[in-house]
């Protein structure tokens, strides 16, 4: 999903950084020190989940799970994704340093948006939660794919066809992520109902003790 070094034009890189930095600063400011540990460990769990490859035919797809990340972490998904992207750049050379801003917008923006919009429905008793969970997972991948295609298209006419191919390639992943999100949120509803938005700042830490 995230874009490697060398592809994007300078204005797109600058625009991505200009959007990502204030959002990252805002969410870091909103994230209390007490919750850094749980955000970090949940971020590690999501990083691990994103390494899962699901075999489809002769190939395989890897999970993104940014919708569930946004639902579980809320706005803290911004620094969590930033840490994951930085780790991927330093450990595996995925993405890169100059593309961090754009990739953060692509991955974390839809995560926070879909997580924030869909999370209130997760605690309802009727089947609305299932539709909201599907929309959260699938919507985050859809918006991420759209942003990725937009970043490529804005980098030059030459990348328009590649942007279209990348967007179409993410449609099956969108469906898989939607169903997986439904299953994950359903499991969390039963086993740990407080987990979605577990690190929201307004929550009193004394509740845990």
């Amino acid at each position: 999903m995230h874009i490697s070094e060398g592809v994007l034009s300078a204005p797109v890189l600058a625009g991505g950084a200009a959007l990502a930095l204030p959002a990252l600063g805002w969410s870091l400011k909103r994230l209390p020190w007490d919750h850094i540990m749980s955000t970090g460990i949940l971020s590690a769990a999501f990083f691990t989940a994103s390494l899962i490859h699901i075999p489809i035919g002769p190939g395989s797809v890897h999970l993104i799970l940014n919708g569930v990340l946004g639902a579980v972490l809320g706005p803290a998904a911004f620094p969590a994704v930033a840490a994951a992207l930085l780790l991927q750049a330093l450990l595996f050379n995925f993405g890169g340093l100059s593309t961090l801003g754009v990739n953060l917008c692509i991955m974390a923006g839809p995560a926070v948006l879909c997580g924030t919009v869909c999370r209130p429905f997760f605690r309802t008793d009727c089947k609305v939660w299932a539709a909201a969970a599907f929309a959260c997972g699938a919507g985050a991948v859809l918006f991420s794919a759209l942003l990725c295609a937009l970043a490529l298209s804005l980098s030059g006419e030459v990348f328009r066809s590649a942007a279209g191919v990348i967007f179409l390639a993410h449609l099956p992943i969108m469906l898989i992520e939607g169903f997986l999100s439904m299953g994950i949120i359903g499991y969390l509803r039963k086993t740990m109902p407080e987990l979605p938005a577990a690190t929201r700042p307004e929550r009193d830490h004394a509740d845990d003790l």
Binding site: G40, L42, G183
Partner: protein, 270 residues
Amino acid sequence: MRTTFDTPADSARSLPYFSLRAMRPERKLAAAAVFSLCAALLSRPAPALGACLFAVLLLCCSGLPLREVAPRLASVNAFFLPFWLLLPLSYVPGGDTRTLFSLGPLAFRTAGFETALLIWLKGNAAACAIAALAGSSTLAENGRALRALRVPDKMTALLLITYADLGLMAREYVRLFQAARLRGFVPGASPAACRVYARLIGLLLVRSRQKARRVEQAMLLRGFRGCFPLLPAQCSCPPTIRLRNRRAAALLFALCCLAGGTLVVWDIML
């Protein structure tokens, strides 16, 4: 799934004192960021080739083991493979119908090939520079370097905590996955397999949350007051070599900035 997450520097501990491995990580990280940004600004193949050669030279000088660096570069080049196939076939700028070669009805255009070559060179230049400069420090050193570069404390703490628990979470997932396999789970994209994947991931999140809660409570009991102290960097080098490495790191940073700046100016002048 991999369960160990190391930078090439972790397996290159036996390198001599005077090497990229021993230089100050904040200078190397800053040099990597500046150079990759300069490489991203290039728009002509000749300066991009220059950037790629400079980065390969850096990688050769780093002395990092090839078996550690090769998979990183392979993953970068796998990203560019679709561009090599798509751009020569699809990109026809206004009036430029030069064809490089044809395969039956498929015409591979020169303009698309040149663009694919340009982004491949730029991408590899940045990847080699990051592998040589950031990869020659351990993740813990890079975390300290980010703090020295004025990245917010919360961000560096989050990065280091995420890294510290990465191996643990991966091993936990592998354990859960093997247990599911023993019970007859067949990986795939069927609805039944998706349900199992969802439960595995859900269980992983629950375990991680339980672990986070235990760690948070332990930190509060030990008087945590919102600060994540990092131990100062330890160096076993003699002071003379340490000083020489410090100067060499400053020189390396200046060299990377100079090379990047020169290539950007060359690109503009062409």
